[in-house]
């Protein structure tokens, strides 16, 4: 059937939550009502990545990029764009452009991106296996089952130089090879979809937008190492990803791409889903395996590594969602193709969830070696509200901050570690001048302290001690000794903790102390918070020269700390003030000041 137009509606979680489903339904209904349903195919796809502007609707072949669409807009989109062939200007992303069309290729957000992992996201309907198959889907599995030997597969991954995308960057081929070489009556394939970094949603979007790529990759791994069972460990708070995975697995089974005797090759493989309760530590592989086995999610010392002795003591290949999504394309296009992308240290691309004080937050995939500046300024559009860039946190609570001076660092596994941060799974949180660096460090540290499983003392006790010291500093009771003490405790945790959670928990502190020592000193010596975030260290006051006595602040103050006659300067009583900042937001004359 020949369609005149294709309407692609983003069905990622972010757009779903702003009514993408209702938009999809309205578009289908309008196409019917206006008699064009035979000419138009409406498709609900995975995430387009440009979440800042969602919900997004793309209409082909004009390649019109509509943003912030509402269900009420469906009627106009169909009657204008589809029936009359006129773009609905007010909904286009690039309204002011003098060009005739705001094409996707003209949007800066997409120009520096290179999509391998997200190749199908935002293009195919993830709930329809045929669309995945049409995009060479399950072609890699075909090759593996009928044309390649197990060693060929591992060799191809070795040539590709693919390293694990979960954070540590361990070479994938090596992991597979370990498991392959172990003799065992049973082996397992596990997909780690326990994405837990604050602000990170790369894996969720991949599973929502292209679930079959992960299923195909796991089946390939099963055949390569000799495993017949796969398990996807995913947190229960990802309901849409779970639903799409379940649909994908059913369709793959119906087609005989999962189950017994796949494509008549004699190879059996099936996958099941295990739901996690959302503990951060379960993203650590040994804790994850313990959780699958029904135990409390706590890590165990390695070696032995799971590749040798994993789930129920059997060899287990465990990879992260993004790693899996790379595999089919490497098999199809060859390791040499993949090897050419990126840097000598790190090949391929990396997906980042760009969030924080950034103009275009969203999901971006760039070749390794792209600089932070390109991601933040070219793709991200710079800092929101024209504020000053302060730092970017990569690697979530396990990573560290990177400052302005290092914005031109090409991103790969090695260079980020050198800066005291890490690649992590791909969260990237941008901070501006209004963020207090001590407060940020406290936020991340408290996250890992909360999420520590408590098994080993360095993490359990060390994390708590660091948290207490930071609390003291933000209260204004810190001493210079505290900086040394934090370094000492942090380094001990790095060396002695059982798993990566404890080993990396001090990173946010160590890196902020390194790059922003001045700000710590301001808190400790001058008892001041330069960004005005730490409540104990700031006072609000009213500038008598600017205050006109409009009484707006006094009326808004929740604790009646502000007094004064009409048309006369007001005053804040510091003993009553709870430093909520409402007066600062309310004042139109800039008379409220923070010190």
């Amino acid at each position: 059937m020949a369609f005149r137009n294709y309407i692609l509606v983003c069905g990622g979680t972010a757009c779903e939550s702003s009514k993408a489903s209702a938009i999809y339904d309205a578009l289908v209904a309008e196409c019917q009502a206006q008699g064009v349903s035979k000419d138009v195919q409406v498709v609900k796809t995975g995430c387009f990545g440009f979440c800042e502007q969602g919900p997004i609707v793309k209409i082909l072949p004009e390649d019109s990029f509509y943003v912030r669409v509402k269900p009420e807009d469906a009627k106009e989109l169909v009657s204008e764009h589809i029936v009359k062939g006129r773009e609905v200007k007010r909904l286009l992303y690039d309204k002011d452009s003098s060009k005739k069309h705001a094409k996707v290729e003209d949007i800066k957000f997409y120009q520096k991106q290179f999509r391998i992992v997200l190749r199908n996201c935002g293009f195919i309907d993830p709930e329809n296996i045929d669309e995945y198959i049409a995009r060479e889907g399950y072609g890699a599995l075909e090759k593996v089952l009928f044309e390649m030997t197990e060693d060929d597969v591992i060799n191809e991954l070795k040539i590709a130089g693919l390293r694990g995308r979960g954070g540590a960057g361990f070479p994938t081929w090596m992991k597979w090879n370990f498991s392959k070489q172990v003799e065992s009556d049973d082996k397992f394939i596990v997909c780690n979809a326990d994405e837990g970094d604050p602000g990170a949603y790369m894996d969720r979007s991949t599973l929502e937008g292209d679930p079959h790529s992960v299923l195909e990759a796991m089946t390939i791994a099963g055949h390569t190492i000799g495993a017949n069972h796969g398990i996807i460990y995913i947190r229960a708070e990802y309901p849409l990803a779970i639903k799409r995975l379940e649909i994908a697995m059913k369709q793959a089974r119906d087609y005989g791409l999962l189950g017994k005797n796949i494509l008549g090759s004699g190879f059996d493989f099936d996958i099941e889903i295990r739901l996690g309760a959302g503990a951060f530590v379960c993203g650590e592989e040994t804790a994850l395996l313990a959780s699958i086995e029904g135990h409390r999610g706590m890590p165990v010392p390695r070696p032995p590594f799971p590749a040798v002795r994993g789930l129920w003591s059997h060899p287990t290949v465990i990879n992260n969602v993004e790693t899996w999504a790379n595999i089919p394309i490497i098999i199809l296009k060859g390791g040499a193709w993949f090897e050419r992308i990126g840097t000598p240290d790190s090949h391929g691309t990396k997906v980042f969830a760009l969030t924080g004080k950034i103009r275009n937050s969203g999901l971006v995939e760039v070749p390794m070696g792209t600089t932070l500046r390109e991601i933040i300024y070219d793709i991200g559009g710079g800092i929101a509200n024209d504020k000053e860039f302060k730092a970017v946190q990569t690697g979530g609570p396990s990573g560290g901050v990177i400052t302005k001076d290092y914005l031109d660092t090409p991103i790969d596994f090695g260079s980020l570690v050198k800066l005291g941060s890490m690649m992590g799974s791909g969260g990237m949180i941008v901070m501006d001048e209004d963020d207090c660096i001590v407060d940020v460090a406290k936020f991340y540290l408290n996250f890992t302290v909360d999420e520590s499983c408590g098994k080993c003392a360095p993490c359990r006790v060390g994390g708590r001690s660091l948290s207490n010291i930071l609390e003291k500093i933000t209260k204004g009771d810190g001493t210079l000794d505290d900086l040394d003490k934090m370094a000492e405790i942090g380094n001990a945790m790095k060396k002695a903790s059982l798993c990566a959670l404890g080993q990396t928990a001090p990173n946010p502190i160590l890196s902020t102390v390194k790059f922003f020592k001045d700000e710590y000193l301001a808190h400790i010596v001058e008892k001041k918070c330069p960004a005005g975030k730490c409540k104990s260290l700031i006072t609000y006051s009213i500038n008598v020269d600017k205050c006109i006595g409009c009484t707006a602040c006094a009326r808004k103050c929740p604790v009646q700390a502000i007094s004064g006659e009409r048309r006369a300067p007001h005053k804040i009583d510091p003993s009553l003030c709870i430093k909520c900042g409402v007066c600062l937001e309310t004042c139109k004359f800039g008379a409220v000041e923070v010190h």
């Binding site: 005149r4 072949p61 062939g85 045929d130 049409a134 995009r135 369709q251 119906d254 087609y255 494509l263």
Partner: protein, 141 residues
């Protein structure tokens, strides 16, 4: 809701998977507009629609489809100002000057596809205009 092809109760063989992929590839390729170099624009103003623009648009889609020409984008536009020769169609194709054809009907559509797009020969008896272009721009060449 587009349904995936229900599995023929028995599981697929390698051959069947390949056949399904080839079939679906043709369908999904139509959605991919990245490498298309030929653009057909059908005038769909009131005059164009009244004169049969809709038939022309549908015939283009069908003809391109049956010939597997997937490098062509077909879009619609408003009135091009040649109301006396509606339906009008603008064709932009590599190696060919941009042309506006007039008095197009289903049989002319077939000729445009066969002669202009495939054969790189203009359908001379239906050429009514060329979009205004700066002829000095390239040094008068």
């Amino acid at each position: 809701m587009p349904q995936y092809e229900e599995a023929q109760m028995a599981k697929m063989t390698l051959e069947e998977l390949r056949k399904l992929r080839d079939k679906k590839k043709v369908e999904i390729k139509k959605r991919d507009v990245s490498d298309r170099d030929t653009h057909i624009i059908v005038g769909m103003g009131t005059c164009g629609i009244a004169a049969g623009g809709k038939v022309v648009l549908d015939t283009f889609l069908r003809e391109l489809d049956s010939r597997h020409l997937d490098n062509v984008i077909v879009t619609q536009t408003g009135c091009m100002g040649l109301c006396y020769v509606e339906p009008t169609v603008e064709v932009i194709s590599p190696g060919m000057p941009p042309v506006i054809y007039g008095k197009v009907d289903a049989s002319v559509v077939k000729r445009i596809v066969d002669e202009h797009i495939v054969g790189k020969q203009m359908v001379s008896d239906h050429v009514f205009d060329r979009p205004s272009a700066d002829i000095i721009k390239d040094g008068g060449k």
